[in-house]
């Protein structure tokens, strides 16, 4: 089985639109939360969100959007883009440049793309409204591909002339971790030499507020504390959007191109809770199984784990389940591994989360740091026995895990290793 490496990263996120900006935010624990103007109305109890910076995509017509330099999108491509597909296009451009891929490295039979998104609820809503108001034949012809769940890969595969494997993943908050895992398999099985892994979300009113009625979103109006995973007073997640892209390549391609990898992907595992459609298993059963399978696939023992980028979204139930799962898997070594949730800084990116946080893990392994878990005033006793650093540590991790959990009780864990 070939070894598989991360050789390029692209970020359009609430904490930075480049790998360098993201790294700085992670090191300095600078968060991306704001009092979100669209939530200002008195009848909206949610006040805080973590929008992407420099883009403006709220207009119905994409030609009215603001797209920051150096990105430029032709009208012919723009008309089929949802906001998240636009972010993904920009992040993919970044990742291609970051990995120093030539055009022929992007478009060939051996290069594929897996994406994760929940589609674009705002675009779908407008499409249906227009259909009802103006008539069936008077809707934008590309309204469907700009809105349904596959919009990110439809657009990216066409615009970047991808010719290898392509599909999308819809396991909600675990979706882009699934995309990463299956992209890993695609290369491991020798079917592809290179895969782009994309996670993207609109991160606007229509993607965030529907979570409020299930009491999953924080009602805390203070941007500085609304997202505080592992804190005793946490009351839900803060929504975010954007896109993250990872370039995965086989060791042969890395050698052929003389690429400098960020990190090696050692393996991954997944398991399901078999418990509830929206609530995580109280003991973290599925997540623990996913972590065990990932460690086994990677050939790594619990004693070797230096850092876990936790899924912890700042919801009361989810964070507690994850703490139990980590303790169950690491056992006596739980107190050694540094566990933190970067969602304290970024907010929860839903389908974006897995790829974005895998990117954070890659940055940590390449540049030798462990992101702290921000905004903890009083640590929840449920975290007892875990080492949760409050500030970023300038130490070089060797083995890093990334956890992700989604609706339906889907859990994914991916294992990364430092490249020396």
């Amino acid at each position: 089985m070939p070894r598989i490496f991360i050789t390029g990263l692209g970020f359009i996120t609430s904490i930075g639109n480049s790998a360098a900006a993201v790294e700085q935010s992670l090191r300095e624990l600078r968060h991306g939360m704001v009092s979100y103007p669209p939530f200002a109305a008195n009848n909206i109890p949610v006040k805080v969100a973590a929008p992407v910076r420099d883009f403006k995509t709220d207009a119905e017509d994409p030609e009215d959007w603001t797209i920051p330099a150096p990105y430029a999108v032709k009208r012919e491509q723009l008309r089929s883009l949802s906001p998240n597909a636009l972010y993904a296009c920009c992040a993919l451009q970044q990742a291609i440049a970051d990995a120093r891929l030539a055009p022929q490295d992007v478009s060939n039979d051996d290069t594929g793309l897996y994406a994760a998104s929940a589609g674009s609820p705002v675009t779908l809503g407008r499409q249906l409204n227009r259909m009802n108001q103006n008539g069936v034949m008077r809707c934008p012809p590309l309204g469907v591909v700009a809105s349904i769940a596959g919009t990110v890969q439809f657009n990216l595969v066409a615009h970047f002339k991808i010719r290898g494997a392509s599909t999308g993943f819809t396991s909600a908050c675990a979706a882009s971790a699934h995309a990463l895992g299956f992209a890993f398999d695609e290369i491991a099985l020798g079917r592809q030499k290179r895969m782009f892994v994309v996670g993207a979300e609109d991160g606007n009113t229509e993607t965030i507020l529907p979570f409020a009625s299930m009491r999953a979103v924080s009602l805390n109006p203070d941007p500085a504390t609304a997202s505080r995973p592992f804190d005793k007073r946490r009351d839900g997640f803060v929504g975010t959007g954007g896109a993250a892209v990872l370039v995965l390549e086989s060791e042969d391609e890395v050698a052929r191109r003389g690429a400098t990898p960020y990190a090696e992907v050692l393996g991954w595992g997944q398991a399901s809770d078999g418990h509830n459609v929206a609530i995580s298993h109280p003991e973290g059963l599925g997540l623990a199984n996913a972590m065990r399978r990932a460690l086994k696939a990677a050939g790594v023992s619990p004693a070797e784990v230096d850092h876990i980028n936790a899924h912890a979204t700042s919801t009361p139930i989810g964070d507690a389940s994850e703490c139990k799962a980590i303790r169950a898997v690491l056992g006596e070594h739980a107190a050694r591994a540094a566990v933190s949730s970067t969602k304290a800084l970024t907010g929860h990116g839903l389908s974006l989360a897995g790829a974005m946080e895998a990117g954070f893990c890659a940055l940590a392994l390449k540049h030798g740091f462990i992101p702290g878990s921000a905004h903890i005033g009083e640590l929840d006793p449920v975290c007892d026995g875990l080492r949760i650093p409050r500030a970023t540590e300038s130490v070089q991790p060797r083995i890093v895990l990334n956890n992700s959990s989604g609706f339906g009780g889907a859990n994914v864990c991916v294992v990364f290793k430092q490249v020396v």
Binding site: K74, E76, R79
Partner: protein
């Protein structure tokens, strides 16, 4: 007929101030000239504004670097091939044209609309409440050879597309043409006279393609002869392997004369221009089926 004029009149409502606001909103990415033409059209229903509306709407969807091509004479420009628009963009254009001109274009009608000129004529006919002309006919290989009174080794058309306003054709110089053996010795060059001949042949095809000239009559295949040509300029030497693209546009077609303007290009390069090519022709009684399908006013209206 694809659509009864009555459905058009049903669509046309009085033009209220809120309609103007919504019209301006729909056209907000178009030039001011386009918006004014659309407002004027909706107020008075005068079809003279239609060309400006069509050009303005198409221009809005064309990439900025290609827009200068729309500034001059552009009826020949093919929306998809020359302006780089795909069929989905064509749908967007059609929806906006429908909305602005309060007309309706069905999917099967859309297929015949290839050039900007096609679209202008189609919408113009709709606006006037007259049936649109038959869509352009494409004639390939055997069909073309069967229709033409000229044959090998003296036919210089491979395939052609004929509409009331224009005929286009292509011919690939194979190198096997008998006259190339001597023109010139050891240096085969397509004679300019033969290139003019090929334009004349395209005129013959245009006259014979079943386009209406006069009710109940058709052009007799044995009646067509070359009459004159004027303003001929050659710009490029054409050799075996070159694909000639012929374009012929009728200026006047009235028995016994059909006057065309013609040009031949190789790719984007001008090869030959003829300001006038005139053919004589005579009319004969049409077979009954063809009679029923003809519309006498269309060709004259289209070339006016």
């Amino acid at each position: 007929m694809p659509d009864a004029p009555s459905s058009d009149t049903n669509l046309r409502k009085p033009f209220a101030p809120e309609d103007e606001a919504s019209l301006r909103e729909s056209l907000r990415r178009c030039s001011e000239k386009t918006v004014e033409a659309a407002v004027a059209y909706r107020k008075a229903a005068d079809p003279k504004h239609i060309p400006a509306i069509i050009i303005g709407i198409i221009e809005r969807f064309v990439e900025p670097e290609l827009r200068p091509r729309l500034a001059g004479e552009c009826d020949d420009l093919r929306v998809i091939e020359d302006l780089g628009l795909d069929s989905l963009t064509m749908m967007e254009i059609v929806m906006l044209v429908e909305e602005v001109t309060q007309t309706k274009i069905e999917n099967d009608e859309l297929r015949g609309l290839v050039t900007i000129g096609d679209i202008k004529i189609f919408v113009d006919c709709r606006a006037r409440g007259v049936p649109p002309p038959a869509p352009a006919k494409t004639l390939l290989g055997d069909d073309l050879r069967a229709l033409m009174p000229i044959g090998a080794p003296f036919l210089f058309l491979d395939d052609a597309r004929v509409s009331p306003t224009q005929a286009t054709a292509s011919y690939r110089i194979t190198g096997q043409e008998f006259f190339l053996a001597g023109h010139f010795k050891g240096n085969p060059v397509m004679p300019a006279s033969i290139m003019l001949e090929s334009l004349g042949q395209l005129g013959v095809l245009h006259l014979l393609a079943g386009l209406p000239v006069e009710a109940g009559k058709i052009v007799g295949a044995a009646t067509i002869f070359f009459a004159s040509t004027d303003g001929v300029r050659c710009h490029r030497v054409c050799k075996p392997g070159d694909v000639l693209t012929l374009t012929l546009k009728p200026k006047r077609v009235k028995e016994p004369l059909a006057v065309y303007t013609g040009s031949i290009r190789v790719g984007q390069e001008k090869a030959i221009i003829a300001e006038e090519i005139t053919l004589t022709f005579g009319l004969v009684e049409a077979p009954v089926a063809a009679h029923a399908a003809t519309e006498p006013s269309v060709l004259s209206a289209a070339v006016a």
